[in-house]
Amino acid sequence: MKEKVELLKNELIEKINNVKSIKDLNDLKAEYMGKTGIITELQSGIKDVPNEEKKEYGMNVNILKVAFNENYESKFKLLEEEEVNKKIESERIDVTLPSKKIRQGSKHPMTRIQEELEDLFVSMGYDVYDGPEIETDENCFQKLNLPLGHPARDAQDTFYLENEYEAFLLRSQTSTGQVRVMEANKEKGPIRIVCPGKVYRRDDDATHSHQFMQMEGLVIEENVSLADLKSTLEIFCKKLLGEKTEVRFRPSFFPFTEPSVEVDVTCFKCGGKGCPLCKQTGWIEVLGAGMVHPNVLAMCGYDPEKYQGFAFGVGLDRFAMFRYGITDIRTIYGNDLRFLNQFTKGDELDEIK
């Protein structure tokens, strides 16, 4: 018996070793371990073995069984690994071939600037107000201290609607938002708003477009000053043009503010040293601002003796041009895909130190 088991064991090991596929291996399993398999038969033959030999017989069959299973398992793993490797080899791809994706969309640079500023001002407690683009002469001029015939109206050559001269117009400034919000505010209490939006003027060249975007800002409180305006504009200019930007006020004139200032920032190209962009002055004019004129407050229902406020108006196109190095404003409205596609890239990641 012992020799027979030894013989069978060697034979099955050899057979397992020679197997080339999982299928053949499983066939072999059936041959030995199946219902009529060699080992199964041997196992059931125990009933014919005399009692005193049964124990030894059983042990020998078990040796065979263990030997088969051990060899089967290791061979199976081996074959499985081989098969996976074969499959992997056959599936190998060229990872440098083009990817599959949908085309990239992009946000327009003007929207990017607008959203960035909205977020900044919302974080400082300002409401964002969006008013109509068709306006009355009253809201666009008269209530902003620009009565009919005022010479400062020349600076904003306005589009009036057909048969509506000095009545209805396309807003030439987002300052209309000031008027609307002040008038709508029944309590006549403090106000903090920005009004970004499209405006229209009769102008078309490399730095002017007949349609462009502005953002008006307005704060009405009992005690706000030009110094408060300055700190607000400092935050705004640093955010858009970089931390090192400095802000300078120069006296100026706007009918709706008194005092009025032009706001210059240190040239972001040369850092204030002087270059062709800033005409060697180190400064670039970026926006107009001032303290809300008492006539404007009064016309919009505010008591100028109680309240004072500051307002500023920013040309967003100009900031977009600075920010993205756009030299011709017509590019902004040209919708050339070679331009738009550049804006699939997100803004620089913020670094908070």
Binding site: K101, I102, K107, H108, E133, P151, E162, E221, F249, P259
Partner: protein, 786 residues
């Protein structure tokens, strides 16, 4: 406004070493911006020379070879000017001289050495309007008294410097040398010098003046006799040239000179041709006048005119009439100095011609200067035109020249500026500006001179203090306001972000389009809005649909061989009902590649529809909208287009461009966001998910081609009831295996119950009901197997 340094120095003393650029910068700091600040003549290395010899060039028929004495040496110069001759005093540009036309170098001209150039006035860089024909054609001949070796620019009196200011519209007072002198005087703390107004009078004026309009508040008339018309003295001519005005003759020049000094425009009439009457009135509608420039002008009843009682002789404040113009034989003159309504002048000037005079009238005139201007004219005319000044002044004066008194407290000044200026600083600044100031208990009483018409309220005084204190000195303060959350409507952002994530570029186009395009891409009836005086026909009308603009974007890019265009825009559409209306709209245009891979799938109807659905679902409209056939604009393909409805209300369209508009496969969509966002979706609430396994069933229906998927789905949904949780189309078949007028659509149906695992029996009951309903209602057959 061009400010001549020499002219300014007549009225205020400038610090000796201040450069023109420093002066310009100082003025900028107080709010007066400038365009340029430079020398009147930008030429270097010029010297007065004396032509000692002038021979013909041996090798030329027009050149001369000259020996020119320049003081320390005698130069050999070849010159081509016809007037070059021995004995002339000339302007010599030495080698190395920089002229506006280029640099002068030593050289050989046709074999003869030339060590410089003799210059004409034109070569010095004066604007051609200041030059005569002689100035342009030949070298300039200096006077006998010119000293050889000295600076010819100084000799000519053109050694001036000019700042070209861009003034703000409130500072009409700065349109005069005197106004500038006060402003500059305040900077350097210098007093403004007196203007010479002395003259002798003879006799008494006899003249009739009447005003028949409210638009002329002041009119002064002064008679001048026996003038001699000649050339002006050099200083007048040079100051006019520096100020950008062409010298003509002494009388005309004096009227301009006094306007520059005082800011008061003047008009001189030939008294013998005018007669003894002036009546100011509004023009009659359609009235004609030939103005100085020999143009016939048609006037309206908004224009102010000057008449001689019967005939119109001038367009007030804008331009005189030809009939009473000063000519070379004029002997007697009537001077008009008046103030006209600024708004009326502005309107007339806009229509006819904007001039130095109209510009000043528009910004307002100080009546004190009107009187001063008359006196100054008399002074100069008697000196430089040998005139006799007739005694008396004919006038009509309805102006108020009382001084303005304004009160402001120190506290208010500091509260507005956000600084701490002292009482003494305020008094110093206002005094330097020539205002009278007194102070009591920190409250200032300021008397403002009439020349400062821009100042009327305390905020104006605060601004003056700010200007001279230095706006640049204001430091940013920590603005502390109550904490609150800013409000912002994010709808537009959400839509944009979603579309961008689905591969569309945001476009930004013009709201103004051609009138004939405004009714395109819509089936709506509406009244469109045109502009008054549009810039061009292409920008005449406010758009209603954004799709015309996107079609232009597509055409633009296609012309540049950029064919994969997927863009969208959010903007307003405009129309008129009882009032003007504007509605926010979203439009998209898609064509070319959408999936980018080697096989690159092109945009088709279903991709665009998918994008619209994804967007609507994202916004929370899932289940509330349908996309189905309906009435679409004629610019769309009638067979490949659909309408978008929200709860039965039309909010938009999707479709392919009509083949007559584009041969390419171009798809568009437009949604009226105003209508869409009227019914804002409710807040997102998570639904409970079933813990029990669901079951799926597949079924394919064969239907006639005119039955739509939507109709089938509607029946399935209705019959499926609560247990049917999802339907998906997974196959469409047309072909040999079914009739040619039929289509097979296969659906995958998902059944689920929140409370229990469904049995096969329960599902089959619903499934069979679905099948029989679809068969009965739509004439469908279930397609079995292959």
């Amino acid at each position: 406004m061009k400010l001549s340094r020499k002219f300014l120095s007549d009225y205020v003393e400038l610090p000796e070493n201040v450069t023109i650029n420093e002066l310009a910068e100082e003025m900028t700091h107080v709010g007066n911006e400038y365009d340029s600040a430079e020398k009147l003549i930008n030429a270097t290395n010029l010297v007065i020379g004396h032509v000692l010899e002038c021979e013909d060039h041996p090798d030329s028929d027009h050149l001369h070879v000259c020996k020119v004495d320049i003081g320390n040496e005698i130069l050999n110069i070849v010159c081509g000017a016809p007037n070059c001759r021995k004995g002339l005093k000339v302007i010599v540009a030495l080698a190395g001289a920089k002229l506006p036309g280029g640099e002068i170098k030593k050289g050989m001209i046709r074999g003869v050495e030339s060590n410089g150039m003799m210059c004409s006035k034109a070569e010095l860089g004066l604007d051609s309007k200041f030059l005569t024909e002689e100035d342009k054609s030949g070298i300039h001949e200096l006077g006998e008294d010119a000293v050889v070796g000295e600076d010819p620019i100084k000799y000519l009196g053109l050694d001036d410097e000019v700042i070209d200011f861009e003034l703000t519209s409130n500072r009409g007072d700065l349109l005069s040398i005197l106004g500038m002198a006060y402003e500059v005087g305040a900077i350097y703390n210098k007093k403004v010098k007196d203007i010479d107004l002395s003259y002798q009078e003879e006799g008494q004026i006899d003249f009739n003046l009447s005003i028949d309009t409210d638009n002329c508040s002041l009119f002064l008339a002064k008679e001048i006799k026996n003038i001699t018309i000649k050339e002006s003295p050099e200083f007048i001519k040079n100051r006019l040239i520096a100020s950008g005005i062409r010298p003509i003759n002494n009388v005309v020049d004096i009227s301009n000179y006094v306007m520059l000094e005082t800011g008061q425009p003047l008009h001189f009439y030939d008294l013998d041709r005018l007669g003894r009457t002036i009546k100011v009135r509004m023009a009659e509608e359609g009235e004609k006048l030939i103005t100085l420039d020999n143009e016939e002008r048609t006037l309206s009843n908004d224009d102010i005119v000057i008449t001689d009682g019967t005939k119109t002789v001038g367009l007030a404040g804008v331009m005189g009439g030809l009939s009473t113009e000063i000519e070379n034989d004029t002997k007697n003159v009537l001077i008009e100095a008046a103030i006209f309504n600024s708004t009326k002048i502005r309107k007339t000037a806009k229509k006819i011609l904007r001039s130095e005079a109209s510009n000043r009238f528009e910004k307002g005139i100080d009546p004190k200067r009107t009187y001063m201007a008359i006196e100054r004219c008399c002074n100069l005319l008697s000196k430089y035109a040998d005139a006799t000044i007739v005694g008396g002044l004919v006038k009509i004066d309805n102006t108020d020249i009382s001084d303005k008194e304004i009160k402001v407290t120190l506290d208010k000044i500091n509260k507005v500026l956000g600084v701490t200026v002292t009482k003494e600083e305020v008094i110093d600044i206002l005094t330097r500006l020539g205002f009278e100031v007194s102070e009591k208990d920190d409250e200032f009483t300021v008397i403002v001179p009439t020349r400062r018409m821009d100042i009327s309220i305390k905020e104006d005084i605060i601004e003056e203090v700010g200007r001279y204190y230095g706006m640049e000195k204001i430091k940013g303060s920590k603005l502390i306001l109550p904490v609150k959350e800013g409000k912002l409507d994010k709808s537009k952002r959400q839509i944009k972000n979603k579309l961008i994530s689905m591969g569309l570029n945001e476009a930004l186009s013009y709201a103004l389009i051609p009138e004939d395009a405004v009714h395109k891409y819509t089936t709506d009836e509406f009244t469109h809005i045109n502009l008054d005086y549009p810039m061009s026909e292409d920008r005449k009308t406010l758009r209603y649909s954004l799709l015309y603009s996107l079609e232009q974007v597509y055409n633009y890019n296609k012309a540049r061989n950029l064919k994969d265009v997927c863009v969208f825009e959010i903007g307003k559409g405009f129309y008129k009902e009882e009032t003007y209306k504007e509605e926010l709209k979203l439009a998209g245009l898609m064509t070319g590649k959408y999936y980018l891979d080697i096989n690159s799938t092109n945009v088709d109807f279903y991709i665009v529809k998918g994008i619209v659905e994804e967007l609507l679902d994202y916004l929370g409209y899932a289940g509330r909208y349908t996309i189905t056939t309906g009435e679409v604009p004629k610019e769309l393909h009638p067979g490949i287009s659909a309408v978008i409805n929200i709860q039965g209300k039309n909010v938009g369209v999707i479709g392919r461009l009509h083949p007559s508009i584009s041969k390419e496969d171009v798809y568009v969509f437009e949604i009226n966001l105003e209508k869409l966002l009227q019914n804002r979706p409710s807040k997102l609430k998570a639904k409970e998910i079933s813990k029990y396994l669901g079951m799926e069933k597949d079924v394919a229906f064969v239907v006639k081609k005119n039955v739509t998927n939507k109709e089938i789905m509607d029946v399935i949904k209705k019959s499926g009831g609560r247990l049917l949780t999802n339907i998906e189309v997974f196959d469409i078949y047309t072909g040999d295996k079914i009739n040619s007028d039929e289509v097979s659509i296969a659906y995958n149906l998902k059944f689920e119950d929140i409370n229990k695992t469904l049995t096969e029996e329960e599902v089959m009951t619903v499934f069979n009901k679905i099948i029989s309903d679809v068969e009965n209602k739509l004439g469908a057959k279930v397609r079995n197997g292959g």
